[in-house]
Amino acid sequence: MKQKRREFVKLTGVFALMASAGLVPEQAFAQQQARNKAFEAKTLDETVKALGGSTAVQSGDIVITAPDIAENGAVVPVAVASKIPNTQNIYILVEKNLNSLSAGFGIPAGTEANVATRVKMAQTSNVHAVVKADNKFYVATKEVKVTLGGCGG
C-alpha cells in the first residue's frame, strides 16, 4: 500500500514538473480536467458547476424537441433550440443516466443555436437542456418516458 502511494506521489510530481516545464500545455490540461469533471457529474447542479457556472436559471426561451414517449431508449432524438442572444454552448443532460451530461455543443457566431442529435436513455427521466449565453447558464426541462432502456441490454 505504501509502495503504491509512493508511486502515485512520484507520478503526480512528474506530471506537475512536466506541466511547469511546458511539456503539457497547461491550459489544455485544465480544459481536459474540466471536461472530464462535467462528463462525470451525476446531477444537473453538479454538471453546471463543473462547466464553470453556479446555478442555471429556468428559461422559457429554450425549446427541447423530444418525444413524450420513446419506445427505444437506445435512440432518443433530442433537438434543442435557444432563443437566448449570444448563446455560446448547448448541453444535453439526461437526469437519470449514470452520468447526466450526454453531449455539449459549441456554437460560434453565425451558427444557429439549434442542434439535433440522438442520445441513449437508461430509463424514464427528465431531459435538461442547459444553455450558456454571456457566461450565464439557463435550463429547460422535458420529461421523456422510456419503455425500453438503452444502457445495458
Binding site: R35, A103, P108, T111, R118, C151, G152
Partner: protein, 103 residues
Amino acid sequence: MADPMRIRATEQSDGVDVRVLMSHEMETGQRRDSAGNLVPAHYISNVTVTHNGKQVLGAEWGPAVAKNPYLQFKFKGGKKGEKLTVTWVDNKGDTRTDEATIN
C-alpha cells in the same frame, strides 16, 4: 478505420442545413459481454465542423450519445458548391475526416 460519414449540406434561404450521420459503436463502458466482462468504453468524444477554415460547430460528447451518431445544425455564410469538413476523434484516439459539398 471507421466507415465514412454520411454528410448532407443543403443551402436554404436562412442558412446551410447540415446533417451528419457517423458510423461508430459508441460503447458506454457499462455493458457486459456474454462472459460477464465489461465491454470497454469506446465513443466519439469530439466533433468539429469547419467551413472555409472557420469552425461552424464544435461538439463534445460522452458515451450517452446513441450508436451511429446523428447530428443536425444550421449555419449562415455558406454557399452552394463550397466545401464543408467534418472531423471526429474518439476516446481511443481514432479519428476520421470527411468532406462534403454544399448543394
